[in-house]
Symmetry: C2
Subunit: 297 residues, 2 copies
């Protein structure tokens, strides 16, 4: 059905079909890029896709809402699924393959547990903080599915958004630790004019919630402005956040860490990153800002 | 130094050097085989290498005593290291590359723990039995280093011995679960004329220990003979072992399981495998036998 919907492009559901196509490209010596997504594509994803198109000869976008990265009380069932719209957006960007497998295609008939499936576990030091603290098992699921997608597509490079900062740091660590022969390309956060970082979960927000959510980027911008003005003490920088918060903001964390290894430090420098997670209007939102100028641009 | 020792072959220590060589082969469309070993090569390894030479255009043998698959009380320091002899044996088999990295090359300056390194964890169901029960963390270390070697060499196929039955079942499961694009080829156990399965750890045995060690293959052969004569009740088959054992044998396990998924069953059939681990003369030895004839051959 959907195969014909993409003009000259391909929507594929089967692992073997993707492998066959990519194999042909490889034989021609073409450079292949992968953009792994959970669908519900927005301008943030499109920026990754555009970057991939610019850097590679062929681009695969995977669309897979990965069950094993959601906790039992998380929004797996509710997570937006908009494959038709996603495929059209990809078509507009001249994506070569949209790979949208079923859970059955990805995990077979296995019960989805570490009793029955091989998992990748990122190092505890990288996981036991920030989003990993509340989302137990999340990054195990992310690393496992990303490794699967890497092995299925075998791209030369893969594109991830800086929006999910902890995720991209953990994936870079995995690639390094396991000698994965793929270059990880990190792309800056895309924001609404208001400053709100784009996220598929923004769809859950009411109009009022969207306004309240601006506090995340405001807090981060202010922290960076204070740093630029010479405040480097991390506790002092974090304290600047409190004046922004109201009873509408249920803050989960605000941290300023080393952007490469997620270590805590006493003083901020150009390797610092400020990260925030906050529940607004019942929706869990995250955002972050790098202390070096160019990398956010 | 050692580079010249191999007649026209190459002993390489660096990941990048191996990758470069293999890349050239790939560009020529050659089929690449990997034989991962911990060195101390014997006829068992040579049978893997011969199989790889027969099935592939180019063969890489890795020699790496992997620290993260040894427990704190195990024989990592004592494990035999005979790189010069190994290299000569590989040369005799016309191996194209012997890859013998340092631990530093494989793991960098990281502390070797799951706090600091990304690990592969095979499913608990496959690990919590047989050797996995006494060797806690062993198969995590095996899977992690095997995945690293796979990513470094990127072979078309990799060769493993049936001797380490649980290992090869777990690696096949990993390859399947993580969509690793490599064919796993399982090679039969090589035995001394006496019946003793070859193992690098046989070097630890005294002459008397070697004789006492024959009990392992005798027990397995007898179990299979009983099965052939019509006994299928697994408890009954296991009971036939006891008459062989003396105070010199410290049995760790004797199990008859399904050879594909390591499930326990009540009755044996052609999918069964009998596995034994026993400490003899202070040396931990393992052996196994498949209930189908051809696969042991």
């Amino acid at each position: 059905m959907t195969k014909n919907k993409m003009r000259g492009k391909m929507l594929l559901n089967k692992i073997n079909e993707v492998r066959e196509e990519v194999k042909k490209w490889r034989a021609e010596g073409l450079k292949v890029g992968l953009v792994p997504t959970m669908g519900a594509l927005h301008e943030g994803h499109l920026s990754l896709i555009k970057k991939a198109k610019a850097e590679c000869d062929k681009v695969v976008v995977s669309v897979f809402v990965n069950p094993i990265q959601f906790g039992p009380s998380e929004d797996f069932d509710k997570y937006p699924r908009t494959l038709e719209a996603d495929t059209e957006l990809c078509d507009g960007e001249k994506v070569d393959i949209v790979f949208a497998p079923s859970a059955q295609e990805m995990y077979g008939n296995n019960r989805l547990s570490n009793d029955t499936l091989t998992y990748i576990y990122p190092p505890y030091f990288f996981v036991d903080k920030l989003c990993g603290k509340s989302r137990v098992g999340h990054f195990d699921g992310v690393c496992t599915v990303v490794m699967k997608l890497f092995n299925i597509v075998q791209p030369d490079c893969a594109f991830f958004g800086q929006k999910d900062a902890q995720q991209v740091i953990i994936i870079k660590k995995m690639v390094n630790d396991l000698n994965v022969p793929i270059e990880i390309i990190q792309c800056p956060i895309v924001r609404e004019e208001s400053g709100l970082a784009l996220s598929s979960r923004n769809k859950y927000l009411s109009e009022e919630g969207k306004k309240d959510a601006l506090v995340l980027s405001q807090i981060l911008n202010n922290i960076k402005a204070c740093y630029k003005r010479g405040i480097t003490d991390i506790e002092a920088l974090k304290e600047t956040a409190y004046s922004y918060l109201t009873e509408k903001h249920d803050m989960e964390y605000l941290e300023i860490l080393n952007k490469n290894n997620l270590e805590e430090e006493k003083f901020a420098d150009e390797n610092s990153i400020a990260l925030i997670a906050c529940r607004v209007d019942g929706v869990r939102l995250i955002d972050n800002i790098l202390f070096t100028e160019d990398e956010n641009a």
